[in-house]
Symmetry: C2
Subunit: 162 residues, 2 copies
């Protein structure tokens, strides 16, 4: 084993700005799907197309320099994301509760540890069940440089299957 | 709520090659930190510098086109990764057990949901405790295009602190 015994170290980086900056750091999970120094953020401007979603930016938006962003989203019982499409990919890994993802006309129920890949251009939506006991929470990784999502009308032909 | 009720759909994509290809897909977690269609892979050529590590490529190496790779590593009790440095960043999120991460001369004990960012160029190592009851498992996200790691001698001056 390496020579360094476990030691107690501060959980908050000493640099100015808390968790913001391009230096090695540990962002502590509080045990309840909140993180030290990571604020709750608005998902996007409210419309009828989405409901009950919160977002936390875990890495990539506060000075880190990798080519991707890591976010944590939660969808409350009865909530859903916009049915949308875009030219960048999604990689989603659920951590909390269960939910469903639709891409094209396929619907998958997903839970802890499943790996969802949404290919570029595929219309998709994430939802929690109306009678769910807890939020549906998931990591969502995306390219840092990406296009804006475009809402998709509900009655389109499926661009994946047709 | 959207008009699509939950339905049962195949968990394995219908395309040839199983989970390989640039199409939307769900890679099922089997509930034990293994995934359908995702093989166990060798970490890298065995040396005295690392011990007890397994790797699974979850997204980015089988036809997906995002600019990053998502991998799942496990470090067995008593195991550790190479003390190394490289010019790309790491984003690590533990999912299983507990372990410790060292960057420079700082050591952090980490567990489920903590977000570890290793800045480019910082020497670092991941370890499990010798008396741990279970593997230390974590997601590790990296840029798809990245340089090779360079081993670091154990007795260097800390490039972060000094």
């Amino acid at each position: 084993m390496p020579p360094h015994p476990p030691t107690t170290v501060p959980t908050v980086p000493p640099e100015p700005g808390g968790s913001g900056g391009d230096y090695s750091k540990v962002i502590r999970h509080n045990g309840d799907f909140t993180w030290q120094g990571v604020p709750l953020e608005a998902y996007k401007a409210t419309t009828e197309a989405w409901c009950g979603i919160t977002r936390r930016e875990l890495s990539g938006k506060r000075g880190e320099t990798q080519c991707f962003h890591v976010r944590y989203f939660e969808i409350a019982p009865g909530g859903f994301s916009t049915l949308e499409e875009h030219d960048h990919e999604h990689v989603v890994i659920p951590l909390r509760g269960r939910g469903e993802v639709q891409f094209g006309c396929s619907i998958y129920r997903v839970g802890f540890g499943d790996v969802v890949y949404i290919a570029a251009g595929d219309p998709h939506q994430f939802r929690n069940a109306g009678d769910a006991a807890e939020p549906f929470g998931f990591l969502c990784m995306v390219n840092a440089e990406r296009d804006a999502p475009r809402p998709v009308a509900g009655a389109i032909a499926c661009t994946i299957c047709e």
